[in-house]
Amino acid sequence: MTIWPDLACCKMPEPIIRFNDVTKIYPGSPPVLDHLSFTVERGEFLTVIGRSGCGKTTMLKMINGLLLPDSGTVEVEGVNVSGTDLIALRRSIGYVIQNVGLFYHMTVGKNIAYVPSLSRAWDKPTRTRRVAELLDIVGLPRNFADRYPSELSGGQRQRVGIARALALEPAIMLMDEPFGAVDEITRRSLQDELCRLQQTLKVTIIFITHDIREALKLGHRVMVMDAGQVVQLDTPDRICSDPKDHFVRLLLGLD
């Protein structure tokens, strides 16, 4: 009997995330997502920008199955999200939300080890070691492991949030306006840090933001959304040099 190597590694590099004609409608209002289709390549840093209510958060929550499409499909690593084990999927995807969502009854160390603890992936020595490593990665002192979130500044909490999302070395990280609530200077250093992290870890990042400068600075590609549709999906350079329509120009402050 021939044992075939894992087919996934022999295939052509396929997009890590694929939206196929996805629609999401809440009764009594226009569609949140309106026949949305796009793909994200492995190792890509995609920033998503649009007005409040344009459907960007809904889109993000479909990648880890917190929401499911009414029609169309979302594929992650070639697998349809609607038909898969959502718990396992979510544990394999890093998730950072707006207000960080750190558990204030747990120490920083326990917060960082939260996802591994769900599946008992780490024993105690591994936990101590990995928490220390992750604190290094996000640029926090190791002794922070025993502190509580309430004792940290906003920027430090964001770093813990990122460390928590990175704990099981996910291939994908979803970030929903993670730097929305910190001051300008802290935000800039967090952005630089995230860029560096993304380059060394090669993690695929989908990053939602309100701030066009942030979107252009961080993204390999920028996706502009409006009314549940993609207005333009292109590199920051092309977005700036060739904005597709009035809305994009408005966003760039050109009109």
Partner: protein
């Protein structure tokens, strides 16, 4: 008066000790049962909100029945003695537990629940690791008021033949022995105060070690 009370404690120390222990047992069993039922019911209605108004409504109505009449109403069903007394105390005790557990669990910030779900927690893990620990101080406050109330109301249970310090109170009333009534009452008050003190210590300790708000 005070001298009469202390004389009673001294002369009848065995009897008072017996009543004190019986009172602790009566209330302890009731607190345990009411605590478990209240906690489970509170969690259930917090997870299935559509049942919450009905359950809390029923608890509120039951709570307004005067304790003496609830005890009386239970006699045809359960007879006299400790059994109807424990039942009545449980019925009272469930209310604060249900209300506080429900409030505590259902007011955990939605952001945190979503973070927990989005990271791959099962519903059970969200409940055990996020919701309940965060609701802990509100639940403990409910437990405190329930414990104090049960210990105090437990005194009336002697009216339907239950044991406990109420026996001393009722004997004092029927024999015009005010000192004996006071002696029983003081011990009930002391028991309630001690229980409250212990629980408040636990509450403070939890808040301190977890740096909670």
């Amino acid at each position: 008066m005070l001298r009469a009370i202390f004389a009673l404690y001294r002369n009848r120390s065995d009897w008072f000790l017996e009543l004190f222990v019986a009172h602790m047992r009566l209330c302890g069993i009731s607190i345990l049962i009411a605590g478990i039922i209240g906690l489970v019911l509170g969690i259930l209605i917090a997870e299935h909100r559509r049942f919450a108004p009905a359950v809390i409504g029923v608890c509120n109505v039951v709570y307004t029945i005067p304790s003496i009449s609830l005890l009386g109403l239970l006699i045809p069903l359960l007879g006299v003695g400790n059994k109807p007394a424990i039942t009545a105390l449980c019925i009272y005790g469930v209310m604060p537990m249900v209300r506080n557990t429900y409030t505590g669990v259902s007011t955990v910030e939605p952001d945190l629940i979503e973070a927990a779900l989005g990271m791959g927690s099962t519903d059970w893990q969200v409940l055990w690791r996020v919701k309940l620990p965060m609701a802990m101080s509100v639940i403990l406050a409910g437990l405190r008021s329930m414990v104090v109330m049960i210990i105090a109301t437990g005194g009336i249970a002697a009216y339907i033949g239950a044991s406990g310090l109420g026996v001393a109170i009722f004997r004092g009333i029927t024999m015009y022995n005010t000192a004996m009534t006071c002696a029983g009452s003081i011990l009930i008050a002391a028991l309630a105060l001690i229980a409250d003190l212990i629980l408040s210590r636990i509450e403070k300790h939890l808040k301190k070690t977890r740096r909670m708000k």
